[in-house]
């Protein structure tokens, strides 16, 4: 892997094997390598159990890798964990809040842990409370708040401090659309200020909208990394097709199923599908469908990140299965 001068997070051949008594060892990371540059938002995508959270746990010094190296701001997470922690702040997957404290106390306590000058703590706490719509709950004990509000408190804390690297593990989970939007904007603003952000998410639209680059992780390996056009180009010949008919007939579905589909949804007289085929085959499908039933409207677009994601994971699964057989 080529290394950039402005690389802030560097992971090389990282392996993590969980060994549990009376269970087979689990290889959560299997030689994963990636780099994140200064001021960049890198999105980690992958199925549940792909290794994303394990990677974040290693980078935040919660666990140690079995082998390989991981560096944050040039500091090794195994040999220099304390200095790594001085450079990072993290929103972990679990809701992490002081349930017995008020919203304001959660923020001020967090500020103390991150050595914000005492006079400045309150100013910053006020600012993030406004930014995340927490102002009206400032004196409310967190245990009495809803799950979404608790998550907001947790995420808001991160924006009180100026650490160069931020790790966000499914940060917007449980938030309503308005606060999700505020969080995404805050993340983007932080990146513009030069903070490096590594986030995991299951919401592909969020990753597509927010991330400068995307890394797709599967079976503990990075199977694709790059900006959106590059990732999309890795899954060439995937198209999204929407077709509306005068009426829906069983023959339409039969016709469609003879093509290599990745995804198929039907709603009333409309079919939404992703197809992995050449342009010629794609129009052959439309032609075949129009012979079965007149088409009222159709739309063909290049693949979305979700299509690419499914295609790359499918390819990875096939490779893993082939590797297992050989």
């Amino acid at each position: 892997m080529s290394s950039h001068e402005d690389t802030v997070v560097r992971v090389q051949d990282l392996v993590k094997v969980y060994r549990k008594k009376s269970r087979n060892p689990v290889r959560a990371l299997d030689g994963l390598s990636l780099e994140v540059r200064k001021g960049e938002i890198l999105g980690l995508l992958g199925k549940n159990g792909a290794g994303k959270t394990t990677l974040l746990r290693i980078l935040t010094t919660l666990i140690q890798p079995t082998s390989g190296t991981a560096e944050v701001c040039g500091l090794n997470v195994v040999t220099d964990p304390y200095r790594v922690r001085q450079s990072i702040c993290a929103v972990l997957q679990e809701n992490a809040v002081e349930v017995f404290l008020s919203v304001l106390d959660n923020l001020t306590t967090f500020g103390r842990f991150h050595s914000i000058p005492r006079r400045e703590i309150l100013t910053r706490a006020e600012a993030v409370m406004v930014q995340f719509g927490l102002d009206e709950y400032r004196h409310q004990t967190v245990i009495d708040l809803s799950g979404g509000l608790k998550r907001r408190v947790q995420v808001a804390k991160v924006f009180m401090v100026d650490k160069p690297v931020v790790f966000l593990d499914e940060a917007t989970t449980g938030m309503d659309p308005v606060n999700k939007r505020a969080t995404l904007e805050a993340i983007r603003e932080q990146a513009q200020r030069g903070r490096t952000i590594l986030l995991t998410t299951h919401i592909l639209q969020e990753a597509e909208e927010l991330c400068d680059r995307i890394a797709i992780v599967d079976h503990g390996r990075c199977i694709a990394i790059g900006d959106l056009p590059m990732i999309k180009s890795m899954a060439v010949q995937v198209y999204d097709i929407t077709v509306t008919f005068k009426q829906m007939r069983p023959e339409i579905l039969e016709t469609v199923k003879s093509f290599p589909l990745l995804k198929l949804d039907t709603a009333h007289t409309t079919l939404e599908m992703s197809i992995k085929a050449s342009e010629v085959s794609t129009f052959a499908l439309l032609d075949a469908l129009s012979r079965v039933e007149p088409i009222v409207h159709f739309e063909v677009t290049s693949a979305s990140l979700e299509d690419v994601f499914l295609e790359l994971l499918g390819r990875s699964d096939r490779n893993a299965a082939a590797g297992g057989r050989s």
Binding site: A96, F113, H114
Partner: protein, 255 residues
């Protein structure tokens, strides 16, 4: 130091959210002494004999109450780890810019302060209400005994609270351990009165060491030589569990 103070501040903020908690923290040992102690004092009007010295039951029980208070603080803090883990904050803490030792020291310093406030309240009010024959010249030793005792029990229970991930399992473990430690110790009765086998068990019981040190420091019962040996033994116990606690918290997800 800033991180240690931040941990202490956090513990303080949480403790002061509940009046019941604060009342329990400060007055529990005193109430125990007043209610339980007075009852037993009436049941044993001739008092008890410790190392040839006759003491009223109240005077004898004072040290037991103080060591019980230390153990109680450690129990509460150990359960606090489960609450913190359930709320996810425990793991987030470990990503904060502090060493694992700073985290532990901050927690223990707060608990030690609490133990000192409890001890001072119990001794001063207990002496005024019950006329306990306090060795005021040895108060410094009481403070050292409470600090070391609280630290020892904290590291002991914390090690298991983090390694045993299930609250119910830890509860069972704690009940068994406390039962064995308490009833094979000099907390409630002089060990001289126990069967020989139980006396032997008591000799190796850190709760007996802690209680005997406090008994010497509060009412002067025991010998200097015996107290030194027990003090050294307790410091070794503390050092072993401090090392285990640090090792446990270095890799909390594996433990």
């Amino acid at each position: 130091m800033r991180m240690i103070l931040a941990v202490m501040y956090r513990e303080f903020r949480i403790r002061t959210t509940s009046l019941t908690w604060m009342f329990y923290d400060i007055f529990m040992p005193l109430l125990y002494l007043l209610v339980f102690g007075i009852g037993f004092n009436s049941a044993f009007p001739d008092g008890v004999v410790v190392d040839g010295v006759r003491l009223s039951y109240n005077a004898f029980f004072l040290a037991g109450v103080l060591s019980m208070a230390s153990f109680g603080i450690a129990i509460n803090t150990a359960y606090g780890f489960f609450v913190d883990r359930e709320n996810g904050i425990f793991y987030e803490f470990l990503t904060y810019p502090m060493t694992r030792s700073e985290f532990l020291v901050g927690k223990i310093l707060f608990n030690c302060l609490l133990a000192l406030v409890q001890a001072a309240t119990t001794i001063v009010v207990g002496s005024a209400l019950l006329g306990l024959p306090i060795r005021w010249d040895l108060l410094g030793l009481v403070a050292i005994g409470q600090v070391l005792g609280t630290a020892g029990w904290f590291f002991f229970l914390m090690t298991f609270a983090i390694r045993i991930r299930r609250n119910d399992m830890f509860n069972t473990f704690l009940n068994v351990v406390y039962f064995v430690l308490m009833f094979s110790s000099s907390m409630f009765y002089p060990t001289e009165a126990l069967p020989r086998w139980l006396q032997t068990v008591s000799l190796g019981n850190p709760l007996s060491w802690h209680t005997d040190i406090l008994r010497y420091a509060t009412v002067g019962a025991g010998t200097v030589e015996g107290i030194i040996v027990k003090g050294v033994a307790f410091v070794c116990f503390l050092a072993i569990f401090f090392a285990l606690a640090v090792q446990t918290i270095r890799n909390p997800l594996r433990a």
